[in-house]
């Protein structure tokens, strides 16, 4: 069972602000789904390898050739905050 406090913690990990007033409602809805997920406990997966990907593809390489990249103004066209050719973001620390 996921608690109200865990919901707030996971919200922080996922960078989604969750107000204290919403946490309980989230916990209830998430628990209903987690409860459903717990049915997998009854499946015997001893000696079963996980499938991350259905295609049997490993290490797809390409030639290391220089190609033109997208013009800077196009890359920055979708942000409202930019400075000297960079995205402008608030301080991280």
């Amino acid at each position: 069972m996921i608690t109200k406090e865990e919901v707030e913690h996971v919200g922080w990990l996922a960078r989604i602000e969750i107000h204290e007033s919403e946490a309980q409602a989230y916990a209830e809805k998430l628990n209903a789904v987690l409860d459903y997920f717990s049915q997998l406990d009854e499946v015997d997966t001893e000696n079963v390898a996980p499938t991350y990907h259905v295609a049997d593809i490993v290490n797809v390489f390409r030639e290391d050739v220089v190609r033109p990249s997208m013009p800077q103004e196009e890359v920055l066209a979708n942000t409202g905050k930019k400075q000297e050719g960079n995205f402008l973001a608030p301080r991280i620390m």
Binding site: E17, L30, V33, F37, L40, P50, M70, A89, P90
Partner: protein, 475 residues
């Protein structure tokens, strides 16, 4: 040109008039639409059609109008995944399939409505409001590619593309009475498709008939170096359009006719299977014993991948941006406001399933169950050429019926998600009606055997009339 038409009918009309006239008549229909299926109408379509007329209709889809799901990047045309967080985003590049469609001469009419970030089965979680089912406007069109299916059913585009992560092409195809294909994982480049669950999803075509699905696949399929999971396939999909199922071995998995299946759906699908037998195919029941665990495994994997894929929407480079004293607060507030309730739930659950202490219990366990589900299919295809099931256990449900209960909505995907876990191809096509609502037959085959799926679907279509029925909206 009014209403429901296939590619060859549209080509005929273009030959009689012009691509410009045809495009104009589609745009006029779209402007009068009452089903809210487009998120953006592309105003450049007319000019593009005029260009195609001047150049003399070269290319396999010259002048054919098409609608594109709002999670597939279109250079210069708004692409928002029906989410508030991507409002104002205009991609600076085209998805691989959009490049291919443009090269083939197709005319983009606009972008279609969807569940926010493709997370849903009803197209109700869109920030633009729900799309309505053209057969009954009190009902959902299915999802998440609800807009792409509804525009084809309502005659607002002859063909469209969607994306299918756990049934998102096939479910709306079934609910809207059109044809939709989820190709084998790796068949179509995902370059420019905004990722939700990258190990599960494929772009897929929707149309009024199986031939048009093949025509679209011939244009959009094939290797692209920008998606390392895409592969080169030799197939010419059109070659598979043969009206002959003699000797075809059909498996009918009992698990797909489980509790909660609507009796009318069950009857229609069995009628279809019996028709195949009359046409020279044979069928046997088969068991895919891990089917009942596929849904939980699917949702754990999809949510886990989503929590990672959607981390890029942080307010820095595009879309919505809120204020905050540092980057973390800015991102957290932007995401809290920009994502809808279901997207937030899935990101939270995915983050939880991947977090320390729970990774093995949820994520790793789900990946192991995925192996078992895939083995069920491998086993079945040793004996059978294809499997046939209902696409959806019920016809289209009512708007708002399941909005407040996420789990009830997830359960609707029970027959479509195992296919994405295994990565095999599957098609949904109309096989009957109940109370005026279409029913979808799902045909599944082994990896890269789209040819069998298309041949079976084409043969069924040649010998039935279901696909010729149109909603009153089109009349």
């Amino acid at each position: 040109m009014t209403g429901w038409a296939n590619i060859s009918q549209v080509k005929e009309k273009i030959a009689q008039t012009s691509a410009e006239d045809v495009t104009a008549s589609y745009l006029e229909r779209i402007r009068k639409s009452r089903i809210n299926a487009y998120t953006t109408i592309w105003e450049g379509a007319i000019e593009k059609a005029r260009e195609i007329d001047e150049q003399g209709h070269n290319g396999p889809l010259a002048g054919i109008p098409i609608a594109i799901k709002d999670n597939i990047s279109t250079r210069g045309i708004s692409t928002t995944c029906s989410s508030k967080i991507l409002q104002g985003y205009v991609p600076p590049y085209d998805a691989h399939i959009v490049e291919r469609l443009k090269d083939a001469g197709a005319i983009i009419l606009g972008k279609t409505n969807m569940d926010e970030f493709a997370m849903g089965t009803s197209t109700e979680s869109s920030c633009y409001g729900p799309t309505l089912n053209p057969w009954d406007k009190a009902r959902v069109p299915g999802g998440s590619s609800g807009g792409s299916a509804a525009v084809v059913a309502a005659g607002e585009a002859p063909i469209s593309v969607g994306s299918d992560t756990g049934g998102s092409v096939r479910c709306p195809a079934a609910f809207c009475g059109v044809v939709g294909l989820k190709p084998t994982y790796g068949t179509i480049s995902r370059y420019g498709l905004i990722s939700y669950a990258n190990s599960l999803e494929q772009i897929g075509p929707l149309a009024t008939c199986v031939s048009d699905i093949a025509a679209l696949m011939d244009v959009i399929g094939g290797h692209d170096a920008r998606d390392s999971t895409s592969v080169q396939t030799e197939t010419m999909y059109k070659d598979a359009l043969v009206d002959d199922v003699s000797g075809l071995k059909i498996g009918v998995p009992a698990e797909y006719f489980g509790a909660g299946i609507d009796p009318a759906v069950e009857n229609s699908v069995w009628d279809a299977i019996q028709l195949f037998e009359e046409l020279g195919a044979s069928w046997e029941q088969v068991s895919l014993p891990h089917t009942s665990y596929a849904l939980a495994a699917y949702y754990i994997i999809a949510m886990s991948e989503a929590s990672s894929n959607l981390a890029r929407f942080d307010g820095t480079r595009y879309g919505l941006r809120n204020e905050g004293e540092n980057w973390h607060v800015m991102a957290s507030r932007t995401r809290a406001e920009g994502f809808g309730a279901e997207v937030k739930r899935r990101i939270l659950l995915g983050t939880y399933a991947l977090s320390a202490g729970y990774h093995d219990k949820y994520y790793l366990k789900a990946l192991k169950v995925r192996t078992l589900v895939k083995q069920d299919f491998d086993q079945a295809f040793k004996e059978f050429d294809c499997l046939m099931t209902p696409t959806m256990p019920t016809p289209a449900f009512k708007l708002e019926e399941k909005v407040e209960d996420p789990l009830a909505l997830y359960l609707a995907d029970v027959n479509t998600v195992p296919i994405n876990l295994a990565g095999v191809p599957s098609i949904s096509l109309p096989c009957g009606f109940t109370d005026g609502l279409p029913i979808g037959l799902q045909i599944i085959s082994k990896h890269f055997d789209e040819a069998t799926v298309l041949r079976a679907a084409y043969s069924f279509e040649q010998n039935t009339e279901h696909h010729t029925r149109r909603p009153a909206e089109v009349a």
